[in-house]
């Protein structure tokens, strides 16, 4: 079993603690001049998303979490599970709702997402940074208005709602940044 010493701690490192996988969010070395050294860390529980503070005695070793990121194509949802496939091997995985928390509004069939597997089970799904989605509903566009900077809500085919400029029309395809949930551009 792989382990990490506190001297190897850095942001993004995935470790096991009390049976759950965690991601190191922040790590600070703390040492009184004449005293015991510690690592003050913030870690995110990869199952619940909750961030907690811990103080590790320096020199402690912790088990590495068996977590891998795999590119997978999103296939479909049956309402209970979201199904993904590894393009090279055609291997399929089913992710539950918890793993989809952040990704759901952006998932379009065929898109390639990053599926984080822990012990072979999908732990979380990260959508592509940019997705192209069609508008299914928005107020009629105002012709010629490309500069005033006003916005209006538009509902996309996945159900996500984004703010778009006033000139955008229903039926158009948009490029959206999934990290911020913001409109980027029209797709011709």
């Amino acid at each position: 079993m792989a382990t990490y010493s506190t001297s190897e701690f850095k942001n993004g490192l995935k470790i096991m603690l009390d049976g759950d996988p965690y991601n190191i969010v922040e790590n600070e070395f703390v040492k009184p001049g004449k005293g015991q050294a510690f690592n003050r860390v913030k870690i995110r529980n990869l199952k619940s998303g909750r961030v907690i503070d811990k103080t590790f005695k320096s020199g402690e070793s912790v088990e590495a979490a068996d977590v891998v990121d795999v590119d997978m194509q999103y296939l479909y949802t049956d309402g209970e599970f979201w199904h993904f496939m590894v393009p090279d091997t055609f291997e399929q995985y089913a992710a539950g709702e918890a793993a989809l928390a952040d990704a759901k509004p952006w998932l379009k069939e065929q898109d390639v997402c990053i599926v984080t597997l822990w012990n072979g089970q999908p732990l979380s799904v990260t959508p592509p940074n940019f997705v192209e989605l069609k508008i299914v509903e928005t107020d009629p566009g105002i012709r010629g208005d490309t500069a005033t900077g006003g916005t209006k809500p538009a509902t996309l085919e996945t159900g996500a709602v984004v703010k778009v400029p006033l000139f955008i029309e229903e039926g158009e395809v948009l490029k959206v940044d999934t990290r911020t949930g913001e409109y980027v551009s029209r797709v011709k």
Binding site: S7, L17, E28, F29, V30, K31, P32, G33, K34, G35, Q36, A37, F38, R40, I52, D53, K54, T55, F56, K57, G59, E60, V62
Partner: protein, 320 residues
């Protein structure tokens, strides 16, 4: 690659130069002699929690000093009178936002003084350094004993509490500790994470009368409980200086070296060659004196409002 460039801004470099000039003027006026002692020594610190860099030199290794305290004490035993030194010191693996494995230390000794007098001088020196950087406002200082600091923050008797009570106080405070700690380990983590963490950001906090188990090179004042004549100065939550009414007893010093080395062995750390020349100097007659070491990079961070030690070092560890 542009990591040939300094990490510190020109402003930080100028501030450092002004701070050093202010400190040297302070000691010149106080008639304290500037000295230089070797960075590489046959002996090393036996301090349980500090590791020295080893430098190979033929068959016999030498060790980079982690503090200039041992040779400076030999000068004191030889009758130097009041002395100070500004130098680079080296500690293995100490790297982080407030730590660089090579850092600047100011160390000074006052003959015939105790910790109370030296604390006052540390505060004046810091005020002088602040003035040198153009900060005129007087620095606010709080003073309390180690016991008072723990009592205020954790309602705990630091001298009497058991490991279980220290652990429970930490849990009550919301501290999640991973790893087994002994009593001093618990005191250290509680001091930095719960006690010092609450010190006011723009003040100096001076803590004295440390537990006897953390005497390092300080005298122990007998009493109930016996306490070490040791003090630390914090700026906000950050430890800045560590001072002692210096231990002058060669036998006790030898016993502490032996005990430290035994403890290092138990922890799987290399046992270090104790400084026999220091022991001989103490045995020859050591003046009653108080000494203190102050981290200059951290002082500069505070005075200049810098967040990370890298911002005040021309070439921090990664670029060295």
């Amino acid at each position: 690659m542009n990591d040939w460039q300094p990490a510190a801004s020109r402003e930080a470099l100028r501030q450092r130069a002004r701070m050093l000039a202010g400190i040297r003027a302070f000691f010149a006026q106080a008639n304290v002699l500037e000295v230089a002692t070797p960075m590489l020594s046959h002996a090393a610190t036996t301090d349980v929690q500090i590791d020295s860099f080893t430098v190979t030199s033929g068959a016999q290794p030498r060790y980079l000093h982690t503090s200039p305290e041992f040779p400076m004490k030999r000068l004191l035993a030889a009758g130097s009178g009041d002395i100070y030194q500004i130098c680079q010191v080296f500690r293995v693996d100490e790297a982080g936002r407030l730590h660089n494995p090579e850092f600047s230390l100011l160390e000074w000794y006052r003959v015939g003084w105790d910790t109370g007098q030296l604390i006052e001088e540390v505060v004046s020196l810091i005020q002088t350094a602040a003035d040198a950087l153009g900060r005129r406002a007087p620095i606010h200082v709080r003073r309390m004993s180690y016991a008072q600091a723990f009592h205020e923050a954790l309602a705990l008797d630091a001298h009497a509490a058991t490991v279980q009570q220290l652990c429970a106080a930490g849990e009550h405070f919301g501290l999640g500790v991973v790893g087994r700690l002994d009593r001093d380990g618990w005191l250290d983590v509680l001091l930095s994470e719960c006690v010092a963490a609450g010190f006011p950001a723009d003040s100096l906090t001076v803590i004295d009368a440390y537990p006897a188990s953390q005497a390092a090179l300080a005298r122990i004042r007998p009493g109930t409980p016996p306490v070490a004549e040791r003090f630390e100065v914090f700026v906000g939550p950050v430890e800045l200086a560590n001072g002692f009414h210096e231990l002058a007893d060669a036998h006790e010093q030898a016993a502490r070296f032996t005990r430290d080395n035994r403890r290092r062995g138990e922890l799987g750390r290399a046992q270090m060659p104790a400084d026999e020349r220091l022991l001989a100097a103490l045995a020859a007659g050591f003046p009653d004196c108080a000494g203190v070491a102050l981290g200059l990079d951290r002082l500069l961070m505070w005075l200049g409002g810098w967040e990370r030690i890298d911002q005040v070092l021309a070439f921090p560890w990664a670029r060295a």
